[in-house]
Symmetry: C2
Subunit: 208 residues, 2 copies
C-alpha cells in the first residue's frame, strides 16, 4: 500500500509512524491504524498515554541497567540471589528470557549494546565501566557471558575479559550446541563442530 | 512472554496496549515497545500525536463515508468519474485496494461493516439508508457489490438488492474465479466450480 493511495493526510501520517516500527510493513501499519481508529476515544487515549507515560517515567536500575520501576531493580535488591555471579547480556529482553528459564540465581548486567565498530559503537558507548566497577569490589566471583555468537559479541567478551582478567574471577559463556529436540543430521556444521569440541560429561541424573 | 515476566509496570502496560492490536502477539508487542523506548522523546511524541490527531480530527465523506480530509472526498467531488455507478464495499481499505487497480471510474459507498446477526450487526448499523437515498435519486445506473464471499456478505447483497430492486438499476458483483497466475489443479473446488459456471467469453484482445 503506497502512501499516495491513502485518501487522508492524517491517516497517512499515522500509517507512516507505524511503518517505522521494526517488522511492520505499510499494509500491516494501515490495518493497525484503522483498528485503532475504530476504537472509541478512551481506548486510543489509553494506548497513546501508556507510551507517553513509559517514555517519561521509565527508570533503569542504577546497578545492572535493567528496566525497573524502582531505583534498584527487584533482582539486584533480592539478597537471596548469588551476589558474586553476574550474567552479562546485551539487552533487557535477554534478562527476561533467562529469568523465564528459572535456572539462574545470580545477578545481571545489561550492556545496552555490544561493541560494533561498523556501527560506531565503542566500549565507552555501552555499560562496561559500571560492570568493571561492580566486579572490582568482589572478593571473588563468576562472570557469565550471554552475548550473541557473532563477531561483535565475541569482541565484547574479549574486551571485558581483558579488562577484568584476574585469578579472583571465573569467566564462562553460555554453552552452544544442538538445540534440545533438534536432529543431529540437520544441525549446521559450525554448531555441530562446537558441540563435539565442548562435549559435556555424561550424567545419568541430568540426562532426562 | 508472560506479562508477569516484565520487570516494570509501565513497560508491561504499554506492551499490553500493543498486544491488543490485531495480529500483534506479546513477543512482538514487547519488541515494538522496546524499539520506541530506544527512540528519542521527539520521535515517540510524533508517534503518539499522529494517532491523537487522527482520532480527534478524522472526517468521513458525507456522501460515500470514505475517510477524507475534506467534507466531501476527492472521489465523490471528481466530476469526471461516472456519477451513476456505485461500488458497494465493506471498508475504506477496499476502496484503496480497488483504486490501486486503476480499473474503476465510478463512485463508492463504504458500508462500514456487513450485516451479521451473529455479531448483532443489523441493516440499521451500517450505511445502507444513505446508499438507498443516493440510488433513489438516479435516473438509472449500476450498483457493483464488492463484498466478501461469505454468508454475511451475501446476506448484505440480498438485503440491498431487495430494497433497491427496480428496472432502473443494474446489479453486478465482482467476478470470482481462479486468481491470475494460479494453477488450476490447486484451486479449491468451490472456486473452480464457480469459474466454470461463470465462464466469460474468450476475447483475443483482453487475453494477454
Amino acid at each position: 500500500m503506497n502512501r499516495d493511495d491513502i485518501p487522508s493526510v492524517l491517516l497517512s501520517n499515522a500509517v507512516g509512524e507505524f511503518n517505522k516500527l521494526p517488522g511492520i510493513g505499510s499494509k500491516t501499519a494501515l490495518r493497525l491504524v484503522l483498528h485503532l481508529l475504530n476504537q472509541n476515544e478512551t481506548e486510543v487515549k489509553k494506548f497513546t498515554s501508556s507510551l507517553t507515560l513509559l517514555k517519561e517515567n521509565v527508570k533503569f536500575c542504577s546497578v545492572c541497567q535493567n528496566i525497573s520501576d524502582t531505583p534498584i531493580c527487584t533482582i539486584c535488591s533480592n539478597s537471596s540471589r548469588l551476589q558474586y555471579q553476574i550474567c552479562v547480556v546485551e539487552s533487557i529482553r535477554d534478562v527476561m528470557a533467562i529469568e523465564k528459564t528459572m535456572q539462574y540465581k545470580g545477578l545481571y548486567h545489561v550492556l545496552g549494546g555490544i561493541i560494533s565498530p561498523m556501527d560506531g559503537i565503542g566500549p565507552s558507548d555501552i555499560a562496561i565501566d559500571s560492570l568493571i566497577h561492580r566486579v572490582n569490589e568482589w572478593p571473588e566471583g563468576e562472570l557469565i557471558f550471554a552475548l550473541p555468537a557473532t563477531m561483535e559479541g565475541d569482541t565484547t567478551c574479549f574486551y571485558i575479559h581483558k579488562k577484568l582478567d584476574s585469578p579472583r574471577i571465573r569467566f564462562s559463556t553460555l554453552s552452544r550446541g544442538i538445540a534440545i529436540g533438534n536432529d543431529i543430521e540437520y544441525a549446521d556444521e559450525v554448531t555441530l563442530g562446537r558441540s563435539i569440541v565442548n562435549r559435556t560429561p555424561f550424567n545419568v541424573y541430568s540426562h532426562k
